[in-house]
């Protein structure tokens, strides 16, 4: 054997099976395969991408108005598997950072159709190129020779003006399982509602580099690059926007740096479990394209039990520093030191907001109980919500009518006092809770929040706060005070001199126990009223019986 120390060269051989595995492994999800084609359109400067699912004829058509391809690009780039296009380092003429590809985006839709047809016209040229790829050969004929494969194409005069570019991709004879999936129409609880079609639509809206919906200017402004011309995407004639859970409110938004990584993030909650479930967690995006599924940064794997995690969602947009760390499956990044720091940061934010949501739920519950019937006044709830004093709906907090009634039965406190106390605990130092005296407009709400949310007024004389007891045809206004029950015969209740107001001793032991406060109040007031009037025995008995009947009837 010749073992002389000479330098030799050995070729690196790439088996076609590797390509097959790569493409099959990369694009397990049909919608994600379509997303790859749409990302290519984005890189090609498309401002509009229109997609038609023509299931009846077993085909899918995608059209974009990007730069298109000339013959050379078609042959040398599009059909060149593994042709690497580096992500751009500067903004292009549309103000975009090119996403870049591993040169296998073209393969993405091939597993799902028998034939892929492409019609493309390069901007600035008059000719269009039309080619047909027998996709079936890639994935069903095991001995297909990729290296010697040929794609037939023809060139003809386009009917578009020279200055326009276009690429139309038609997936023909889509596979049966895709047809079945997109036609499926079963409603699955707590996941993407409706159908396979809805799931497909949702997935595209989640992963493609498109805009947030027009009613989320807050997100558009925060994440948008002013100079960037956005790409619009239509599916079957309907424009898609990025998914945002309904009613999701921003809890926190920041720009952060972790070593080389620079990012912007938003943490949101709809103050209810995020629907659909697939949106729970934080969506990482690199150059506006989603990386993997929404994630919780493995917070639960660290043993933290976060009961409100299902209410949190958000967006994390990587601005720079991770281009070269993206894994080939585009699902995640290499776990570098910077990435680890970023994960740790978000785990802490998630934990923090989980705790805050718990606190808010408890204090909201307390406020609902203090509000009593006023919880039905939508004006008050809207105001308190705007002022960030009320977050959850009473339905979400499981405050049933029974709970509210039970709470009311244990009330020996002026409601205004109670509301003011609860509100004062919720507001920060810059906000005042004030009691307003005097006559009030009966039509106006009993609580109002100033426009700047700095003053919350509680109208003491509002009928909603005036507690009245009706006894023997007379109305008694109810008030509360505290005194030593051992020092006076009127240990529970006393009447004012004008006999119009009943004052209850809220420190009396009977109000501390399990008895229904309303029963105690009615009995004590009733006895007081009866005995303070001169009556014969028969009338006295009659009145006592009536008092007992009325009290327990209530």
């Amino acid at each position: 054997m010749d073992i002389t120390q000479t330098t030799r060269k050995a070729p690196i051989i790439v088996e076609k099976e590797v390509v097959k595995h790569l493409s099959l492994g990369l694009y397990r999800n049909f919608a994600l395969a379509i997303k790859e084609v749409i990302s290519n359109a984005y890189d090609a400067g498309a401002t509009e991408v229109k997609l038609k699912l023509d299931l009846e004829n077993g085909r899918i058509i995608l059209r974009d108005n990007g730069n298109g391809m000339n013959e050379s690009q078609f042959k040398n780039e599009y059909l060149h598997i593994g042709y690497f296009k580096e992500p751009s380092k500067e903004l292009d003429e549309l103000g975009r950072m090119r996403i870049g590809t591993f040169g296998i985006g073209f393969l993405a839709p091939l597993p799902y159709c028998k034939t892929l047809k492409i019609i493309t016209k390069s901007r600035g040229q008059q000719n269009a190129l039309e080619g047909e790829i027998e996709a079936e050969n890639f994935f069903t004929k095991g001995n297909w020779d990729i290296e010697n494969a040929e794609v037939e194409y023809r060139i003809y005069e386009s009917d578009l003006p020279s200055e326009e570019g276009e690429t139309i991709i038609i997936l023909e004879n889509i596979k049966g399982q895709i047809y079945d999936e997109l036609s499926r129409d079963t409603r699955v609880r707590r996941t993407i509602e409706g159908s396979g079609y809805e799931k497909f639509k949702w997935t595209l809206a989640q992963y493609c580099p498109i805009e947030f919906p027009p009613d989320r200017q807050d997100l558009r402004n925060f994440f948008g690059v002013k100079s960037c011309v956005p790409m619009k995407l239509w599916l079957d004639g309907i424009e898609l926007y990025r998914n945002v859970p309904e009613e999701a409110q921003i809890l926190e938004k920041e720009t952060k740096e972790f070593g080389e990584i620079e990012l912007k993030y938003v943490i949101m909650t709809p103050f209810a479990p995020v629907q659909p479930e697939e949106m729970r967690g934080f969506q990482l995006r690199l150059r506006d394209v989603a990386i993997g599924f929404p994630r919780d940064f493995d917070v639960t794997k660290l043993g933290r039990v976060l009961g409100r995690l299902n209410m949190l969602c958000g967006e994390v947009h990587i601005l720079k520093g991770l281009d070269n760390a993206l894994l080939v499956n585009r699902d995640s990044f290499n776990f570098t030191e910077d990435v680890a720091e970023m994960y740790d940061f978000f785990r802490n934010r998630i934990t923090y907001w989980n705790a805050r949501l718990y606190d808010w739920a408890e204090s909201d519950k307390e406020l609902y109980l203090a509000l009593g019937e006023l919880r039905e006044d939508k004006r008050i709830l809207t105001d308190l919500n705007k002022a960030d004093l009320l977050h959850f709906s009473k339905e979400r907090l499981r405050l049933s009518e029974g709970t509210l009634r039970k709470s009311k039965s244990k009330t020996v406190e002026n409601r205004v006092d109670r509301i003011v106390t609860v509100l004062s605990k919720k507001v920060d130092d810059s906000t005042k809770v004030v009691r307003k005296k005097g006559r009030v407009n009966l039509e106006a709400p009993a609580i109002s929040v100033a426009e700047d949310s700095k003053t919350i007024a509680v109208y003491e004389e509002h009928p909603a706060f005036v507690e009245i007891f009706e006894f023997d045809g007379k109305n008694y206004r109810v008030m509360y005070d505290e005194w030593n029950s051992l020092e006076t015969p009127f240990s529970i209740c006393r009447l004012t001199k004008d006999r119009k107001t009943a004052i209850f001793n809220k420190s009396h032991p009977l109000f501390k126990g399990k008895l229904n406060d309303n029963i105690v109040k009615r009995l004590s007031l009733g006895i007081l009223v009866i005995l303070s009037e001169i009556r014969d025995n028969e009338a006295l008995i009659k009145d006592f019986n009536k008092l007992i009947e009325d009290t327990f009837a209530e």
Binding site: K50, K52, R63, I119, D159, L235, D236
Partner: protein, 236 residues
């Protein structure tokens, strides 16, 4: 399609097709007040203005539209633009309908038949307009066979320098007026087309309840766009 025709489409749609389609909707579906939901068959192009205008005016819905375009590139574009509509591309409509009328029967009956041949890249071959009218005749025969009670017919064509001849028509052409052969003057061409279309309707037991037309001159050429609309209903 010449770009001037693109510019004129707005005028055609708003000044002729929409008013006629509205009258047709009121006559064919008097009980439907809010939305007529008429089925539209249209020869159209990338702008598909008529679809949008008819949709906006509650005459049709996207899913009730069947569009036809002669070019497969345009048809693919239309597919992605129109979404839920059906789009067909089986070559030139007049060729397809004359040669394989049975294959087209799936698209009918329809309530609005918009035969806008000006959108289908008109050729300069002799006998083009007569062939278009023959195509229209096949469809009206089909609507008659399908016992369609009534429909809106919109016909639009490019009037260029090519003469017309009744010899090229495939049906008996009854007109109160005698036309020169060939028909070369523009007024005679308009009258010829109008008479021929009405003949196809009458031959199939349809009477004309409403009609209107537009003749628009194309800039920088001697060509004109002629468009005519009818509301037709069965005469017995």
């Amino acid at each position: 399609m010449p770009s001037q025709i693109d510019d004129l489409k707005t005028s055609l749609v708003n000044d002729l097709w929409l008013p006629i389609a509205k009258k047709g909707g009121d006559q064919l579906y008097p009980r439907l007040k809010k939305h007529k939901k008429m089925k539209l068959f249209t020869l159209t192009d990338m702008n598909y203005q008529e679809v949008r205008v008819f949709e906006d005016n509650k005459l049709t819905r996207r899913e009730d539209v069947v569009a036809w375009n002669h070019s497969h590139q345009q048809a693919y574009r239309l597919e992605t633009e129109l979404g839920r509509s059906k789009v067909f591309c089986e070559g030139r409509f007049d060729d397809a309908v004359i040669d394989e009328s049975e294959a087209l029967s799936d698209f009918f009956p329809c309530d609005i038949l918009n035969l806008d041949y000006s959108s289908q890249k008109p050729t300069s071959h002799s006998g083009r307009i007569e062939r278009e009218i023959n195509g229209e005749c096949v469809i009206v025969n089909l609507l008659n066979d399908l016992q369609t009670k009534g429909f809106v017919l919109l016909y639009t064509t490019l009037l260029d320098q090519i003469d017309l001849s009744s010899n090229n028509l495939s049906f008996s052409f009854n007109s109160s007026r005698t036309f020169p052969n060939p028909v070369d003057a523009i007024d005679d061409k308009v009258e010829f087309i109008r008479s021929a279309l009405i003949s196809t309707l009458k031959n199939n037991y349809y009477c004309v309840n409403e009609s209107d037309e537009l003749l628009i001159h194309l800039n920088r050429t001697n060509n004109k766009i002629f468009s005519i609309g009818f509301v037709a209903s069965r005469s017995h």
